[in-house]
């Protein structure tokens, strides 16, 4: 049972601040973390690996500092790590990212299970998982809240808005995981020592990943960002002043006027 997990290093969006003067993101001083859904996927992969044996490889695409996320993955129990790091990958949209990751997974080869997080907190697209599945022509199960492996098959509970579906697919299969699948874990001290002393992060460029250069990077991406801006504040309304009783009276009459409360 060989497993490949893809993880992304992301800025912690809870800490993101906006420069009120320029309306742009302040990235300095914002901590980066392993994307939460990806971490759940990794923890699940470690559990499956411990049960079914095999190699667990973790792959990330990003700048050199994304190595930190991979070291964390190694500390949590991954055997090998590969960082796709090349200017040719920069600026990829989800289609181009899927081409890059898909090519790398093909180059690694011999995989049974591919685990991804459902979505990353910086983009919230949830697209890369299914797009890699299509690239590799393997079945996909998204929004998994439970996974079981047996007899060369994966059986998963896929979360839906009003419940869940039970889905089965033959391996190899790509599954995207949501946070409900397991509890967050932290690396042990031994795990961290192991990750830095005995394990390696391989750095691959586009050629190592056997990626088609006409299908990766900013210029090959079908979509492009035309503009970004901070969400406009709705026009400031009015603060009602007076005694509590008066203010409530006014609010209730406004609601009646707008026919939002009826029958009174």
């Amino acid at each position: 049972m060989n497993i490949i997990v893809c993880v992304k290093q992301v800025p912690d969006t809870n800490e993101v601040k906006i420069d009120q003067k320029t309306g742009t993101l302040v990235r300095e001083g914002v901590p980066t973390i392993m994307n939460p859904d990806d971490k759940h996927a990794l923890i699940e992969a470690v559990k499956i690996k411990n049960k079914h044996k095999g190699e667990l490889t973790v792959v990330s695409m990003g700048p050199p500092q994304a190595e930190e996320a991979l070291r964390e993955a190694l500390a949590l129990g991954a055997d090998e790590a590969i960082l796709l790091c090349d200017r040719a990958f920069a600026g990829s949209d989800t289609w181009a990212t899927a081409n890059a990751l898909g090519s790398a997974i093909k180059a690694i080869g011999n995989y049974d299970l591919l685990l991804f997080g459902r979505q990353a907190i910086d983009g919230d697209t949830a697209q890369v998982g299914p797009q890699v599945a299509e690239f590799l022509n393997v079945p996909q199960i998204t929004y998994a809240q439970k996974i079981e492996i047996s007899d060369g098959k994966v059986k998963a509970e896929r979360q839906m808005e009003e419940g869940y579906e039970v889905i089965e697919a033959k391996l190899p299969c790509l599954v995207t995981c949501i946070s409900e699948i397991n509890e967050t874990e932290y690396p042990t001290l031994d795990g961290i020592k192991e990750a830095y002393r005995n394990k390696k992060v391989g750095v691959w460029n586009a050629d190592d990943a056997k990626a088609d250069k006409s299908k990766i990077g900013l210029l090959s991406s079908p979509t492009s960002v035309k503009k970004s801006f901070t969400p406009p504040a709705k026009g400031q309304g009015q603060i009602l002043r007076g005694t509590t009783k008066d203010v409530v009276k006014r609010i209730v009459s406004i609601l009646k006027e707008k026919e939002l409360v009826g029958g009174f």
């Binding site: 989800t94 697209t125 309304g237």
Partner: protein, 388 residues
Amino acid sequence: MVKVKVSVNCPETHLNLGGIVLIKGNNFEDVPDMPEIRQSIDSGYLEVLKEEKTEVKEKKKEGDEVLVFAEQRNGRIARVVFELLGKARELADKLNVKTAVILSVDKDNELSKELISYGADKVYIFENPLLKNYQTDLYAKVICEHIKKEKPQIVLYGATHIGRDLAPRIAQRINTGLTADCTGLDITEGNLLLQTRPAFGGNLMAQIICRKHRPQMSTVRPGVMKIKEKDANRKGEIVKVSAELSEKDMMVKILDIVKEAKKKVNLEEAEIIVSGGRGLGKKENFKLIEELAKLLNAEVGASRAAVDSGWIAKEHQVGQTGKTVSPKLYIAVGISGAIQHKAGMQNSDLIIAINKDPDAPIFEVADYGIADDLFKVVPEMISALTKG
């Protein structure tokens, strides 16, 4: 300037109106708006002809359609589809093309008529027992083949669990761009689709375009676009299409669909929402919110802070990581208004905020703010609403 003709009711064969001679049987364009002309129109001697332009506009160009994926579950169309149709109608009018939907289902059962009444000009319907429930591979196959054949210029999907599973699979197969979770769509220079979406947890809005690849595709957040009024008399074309499908096309198999029996919280469809936040202080105080909500026939919402504190279940959460809502009335009680909360509710028609802190950011989006103690204001509201 108006366009007129001499009415059959006019006893004369020609009319001389302030120097302009109009002859029966002919149409006259660009007649100046003079008192004599208006008088003759009022007396029924002249008829105003409809602008030919509008007639041309009604004749939509064939092809290049704006296509909506008509997600259905258990033979019921998802609400987001009607939201998408309202938006698709707007986009199609700007492009002067037709709005189409693609419906995969086991049996039509009047669904296509319903789709037409909400704005579809054309319904492509694939009926097949295998298409009864959503299944990634079959749906992707049907839609990819349809897109290759009909070449729509835009395809919209609801950003539901199904839409977000399906659309990326399709985008990769047909090699085009896909923008996730859009909250705004418009047509910009070069007739391109301008797709606005939140990023970085709602801290930033990005406008995305797909310049060269076709179709341009988006998934759209449920609850953001407004549904256009239903028109049961609307006419549209129903195109039955067959698809060659077999069990072999299915890489994944759905073994079971489990509905969870918990009481459904339906924030997206609620007309009124009363939400509580950290200001409530403890779990027991949520009863105040529930009481006010009950009086207003409203759903109960909550901020992330209240959910994270364990005061209320996550399904009540409004915000970037919860539900996006746009009710007619949103009452925020004891909610400070973090960016991520505002991202989920600022499109509500009317927002009332109650918060002790007059500097709370929630007041930036509120139409009416009450900077007072919620434990005084809410009971007062409850008593005022009960007394009437």
